[in-house]
Amino acid sequence: MNNILILLIVLPLLSSFLVLLVSFISRSFPGKIFSLGGIALSLGLLFLIAPAIFSGGTFSYSVGGWKGPLGITLYMDGLAWLTSLIGTIIALLALIYSSGEKDYHPRFYFFFLLLLVGMQGVILTDDIFNMFVFFEILSISTYALVAYFQTGRAIRASFDYLLLSSLGAAFFLLGIGLIYQAGGVLSLEGIREVTIHLQKNSPSMFNLAVVCLVIGIGIKAAFIPLHTWLPNAHAYAPTPVSALLSAVMIKVSFLATWRIIDIFQAFSLQYLFIWLGAFTAFLAVIWALAQTDIKKILAYHSISQMGFIVASFGVASSLSLTASFFHIINHSLFKSLLFLSAGLVIYTTGIRDVSKLSGLGRKMPLGFFACLVGSLSISGIPPFNGFASKNLISLSLKNYPVAAFLILLASVGTVASFSKIMRIFVGSSAGDRIKKVPLSMTLPLLILCAFCLALGIFPSWGAGGISRLIVPGSFSLPGVYTFWQVAASILILAVGIVFYLLTLTSYGKRVFGYIRQMRLGLNNSLLLLIISLIFFVIFIQLF
């Protein structure tokens, strides 16, 4: 049974190289079958250990039979299992989608599977240096995937991302070095044991190490001072990759941050996350409102939704942690749904600019339906899953009214900017016929719609399962479908639509046109990373 942990990593790796080898030997043989097989097998393995995980079991595995603290161990608990499951499911759906979209080079499938290897490794590993290695596998494959189309914009996005994230990785490595120097251990469990000792003996060194580690991964989790690479990278990547990046990559990075903060007990940093998250949610929505490129809007909303997750994580009560994780899962589902349906729009029309599209609803009813479900989910309208988790988040932010208010404004902005996306489906349509969509592209959308609806209608099922897996002890989840909450969401919907109409006025257009021009260049983003590092260090030293 324990062998499953290593198989989860080795199977995608094996199939990724098989794809390349097979395509190298014979051009005609469809190598992507291996990628499909690899991911489907990992999914099967995950389901195989589901009963044991739900009865509270954990798995651990030492690679090569070398036991800790020196050997590399893998470890899986409920949190890791759930993340791994959601990542694998979305990877499978994105892969099915990609096989219909266009004829990708085998290299694409190779890097796609390598991304999955990195993801599984980061989730499962119990060794901080090993985590770094898997993070680099994850990031290197994403750099290559973002640059896949080799247009100027895509390459520039990938290059910016590479430099920023490598600087982050360098700080991560520095943090590992500081920890090893002070504590002499590398396994996460070992670090948990020496944490208290270190905090007392060399607090400033310890704090520096924690901040280096958090910033190093935080750059990939994209909360606000570290978000600058994300919009371009997500917007110019191939659509299945955008879905996977939004749904998996930033989530996994954030969960690694979660684990680091949990293990190092950096509670003051966790408190800072409430404010970081609230501002992230609010500011990113403003930038999202200013965009016209459909995928860029979605990318900015990824940052904004990360803000919801981060803020809720910062509160650190059992309710808020459950809400945060529930929103992670929901966001993975509806954001991949939205990205895939945006890809469908781009596939059928070839246009990315939302202001140039209209009347698509009659031509592609399925795309319209999928996009509608995704938009309602992300805006937090019942009975979709976004409603459930956003409500839990606002309940958990009860003691922080300013943050809760910012989150509320972010919700209004979300409704407004998704009204902008939904507008492309209504109105009069241009007469030309559009491309026919293969079944393999629509099937993943329908499955994701079903997930969104199921988790929205039975929130206690989803959130309850999560709280059982990640929170020790039991607590009662508050109900989601009360009258006031439904009424509030309808009110948010109304205000959001009014706000959208305001942005259409000439004054609103001028303001948002100005905001759209405000972008950070590469040098300034790198500088911002260093400045936020210094800010984090000062903050953690003072509090």
Binding site: E136, L167, N523
Partner: protein
């Protein structure tokens, strides 16, 4: 003393990464940064009077081999990153005919 030198190398790397306009120089800065970290790890494990960690007869004080083993991996990753970054720079150069990041950003402003 050597610790301050390592910090200086690290800082030079960051400066090269941020302040240089040329893309190749940025990548060189990244490599200097990585070398700084490699030196830091080697510095962690070694003390005066210790020898290489090859277990033969008569050898007692050896340096801590773990940081060195870790750094081997980090160097390999650094090579991968450098290769990928150079490939991207090559493509950028073919597209924009310049290596200066400020000019590339100016050119792609209206995209």
């Amino acid at each position: 003393m050597s610790f301050y030198l390592i910090v200086a190398i690290f800082m030079v790397g960051i400066w090269g990464l941020i302040a240089k306009d040329n893309l190749i120089k940025k990548i060189i800065g990244l490599n200097i940064l990585n070398s700084g970290i490699v030196l830091f790890f080697v510095y962690i494990g070694s003390f005066q009077g210790t020898t290489a960690p090859i277990m033969e007869k008569g050898i007692k004080d050896v340096v801590d081999p773990i940081p060195q083993a870790l750094m081997l991996t980090a160097i390999v990753i650094g090579i991968c990153l450098t290769a990928l970054a150079l490939a991207l720079v090559l493509k950028l150069y073919q597209k924009y005919k310049t290596l200066s990041i400020s000019q590339i950003e100016k050119m792609s402003k209206d995209e």
